[in-house]
């Protein structure tokens, strides 16, 4: 089974690649629509700016193949900005649309706490999670972001609190997303990626 790691022109792909390969997965970097369309599973990593991310997908003509892959049930895992891109839109780039897999809007973290939210934090489980299966409730994960999807989003399975409750893990049928960086979250992060691979 081959996993397509979407390469939209920025972002730290080698670490995601290394983490997945370390778990025995076969990966390829997807820069072409056909690679997304033909993938058994898709990982959408991302760092940086929401606007640059969705523009990068559009320029490479990857937006529609991603939406088609979702419609046909291909498992998709969004990481950090990749999770945010699965939502309708973001305050970070108000004129851009996201992939629209989820209807909610991504917003800036509040100003009463330090932002970016950088460092290791714990999660609050909202409901049963496939990605967090077997992980201790008090496990820490590495976050680095200034924007987030609301904790009240329908697909939220685990929230995190940083001035506001935000979606830390989302799951809905074939869609998965983590606001933290599993590839940077030590052994616990590796377990999340393993759970994703085992769900395929």
């Amino acid at each position: 089974m081959k996993i397509a790691i979407v390469d939209y022109g920025a972002g730290n792909l080698p670490s995601v690649e290394r983490a997945l390969r370390g778990l025995g997965a076969e990966t390829e970097r997807a820069t072409e629509p056909a690679q997304v369309a033909g993938a058994h599973a898709i990982v959408l990593p991302g760092v940086g700016h929401f606007g640059a991310f969705v523009a990068g997908l559009r320029e490479r003509k990857l937006t529609e193949p991603l939406q088609a892959a979702h419609q046909s049930g291909t498992p998709i895992l969004g990481i950090c900005l990749g999770l945010q891109a699965m939502f309708a839109s973001s305050e970070e780039a108000p004129c851009e649309s996201g992939l629209q897999f989820f209807p909610e809007k991504v917003t800036a973290l509040p100003t009463n706490v330090k932002s970016p939210h950088i460092g290791w934090n714990q999660l609050r489980r909202v409901r049963e999670s496939r990605l967090l299966h077997g992980l201790p409730e008090d496990a820490y994960f590495y976050f680095a972001h200034s924007f987030a999807a609301p904790g009240s989003a329908l697909a939220t399975v685990a929230a995190c609190d940083h001035g506001v409750s935000f979606a830390a893990v989302i799951e809905q049928e074939n869609l998965f997303g983590v606001q933290f960086h599993p590839e940077k979250s030590g052994e616990t992060g590796a377990l999340v990626l393993r759970n994703f691979l085992e769900s395929l």
Binding site: A10, N12, P14, S15, R18, A19, V47, G48, H49, A52, T111, K114, S115, P116, H117, I118, G119, W120, N121, Q122, L123, R124, P136, Y140, Y142, A144, H145, S146, C160, D161, H162, H181, E183, K184, S185, G186, E187, G189, A190
Partner: protein
């Protein structure tokens, strides 16, 4: 669910080796960066910082190779920098496998460097390295490895850098660096209360109590140290256990 306070070992590298500056005696070799990085990753470090202390033009390729070799060993975040002058040099550091890049001297000379890096890679990828020395009840920013005064108030410069898009401050006290007399908690608290981004305290770490003090009195979000970890004076696990027992939230490996 508080954000854990981070413990960050720092590798100062010169020509592909981890070194430690010894007063009047030059540099002492402390080992291979990839091997040390792997050890800290295994021992529960929350992040790793790699700084090019040679920072000369000719050695840039060697440093990028060092970043690649270290990044391959890690499943924790990596911050790298030292002598970064341009957007392209910053990009090269990130593409080599660092998650964040530090800027210092060049950003003081041309603050737009921070804006450019932040717009391209996001605030979470841009760390202002701020070297400070106490002066008349306040702190002054220094550049060129702490050798040159800027005439700028450290808190003012930190605020401008954050305004321009720096997502974190790596604050080094020149007064304390290498002295083993503890972190400068006053300077750290001053900067931490000025800027709305995380502050990493650096310079002077010697005992477990020093770390406790910088997290409590200094309001630091993270604490960085080099030689006390390299020399295995302290294990990261023992330090975290000490902090946890005193109510500081830390991520403990199991």
């Amino acid at each position: 669910m508080p954000l854990a306070r981070r413990i960050i070992p720092c590798l100062d590298v010169d020509a592909g080796r981890v070194v430690k500056g010894i007063e009047f005696a030059g540099l002492r070799d402390m080992g291979d960066p990839a091997e040390l990085g792997a050890r800290y990753n295994r021992e529960g470090a929350d992040e790793l910082v790699v700084l090019d202390i040679s920072a000369s033009f000719q050695r840039r390729a060697t440093f990028l190779d060092t970043i690649r070799r270290v990044a391959e060993q890690l499943n924790i975040p990596l911050t790298a920098g030292g002598g970064i002058r341009t957007m392209e040099e910053g990009r090269a550091v990130l593409l080599a496998g660092a998650d964040k890049v530090t800027v210092n001297t060049a950003a003081v000379q041309r603050p737009e460097l921070i804006s450019e890096l932040s717009q391209q890679f996001g605030a979470q990828a841009v760390v202002l390295s701020l070297d400070v020395k106490r002066a008349n009840g306040s702190w002054e920013a220094y550049v060129r490895g702490g050798r040159q005064a800027t005439g700028r108030d450290a808190a003012d410069w930190a605020a401008e850098a954050v305004e321009r898009g720096a997502g974190e401050i790596l604050l080094t006290s020149i007064d304390r660096d290498g002295t083993r007399s503890g972190f400068d908690c006053e300077a750290t608290a001053k900067i931490a209360s000025t800027v709305p981004v995380p502050v990493i305290a650096s310079g002077g770490a010697s005992t477990f109590e020093d770390f406790l003090a910088v997290f409590t009195n200094g309001c630091a979000d993270a604490a960085l140290a080099a030689s006390i970890f390299h020399l295995e004076t302290h294990s990261i696990a023992a330090l975290k256990k000490f902090l946890a027992e005193r109510g500081v939230p830390v991520r403990q490996s199991r």
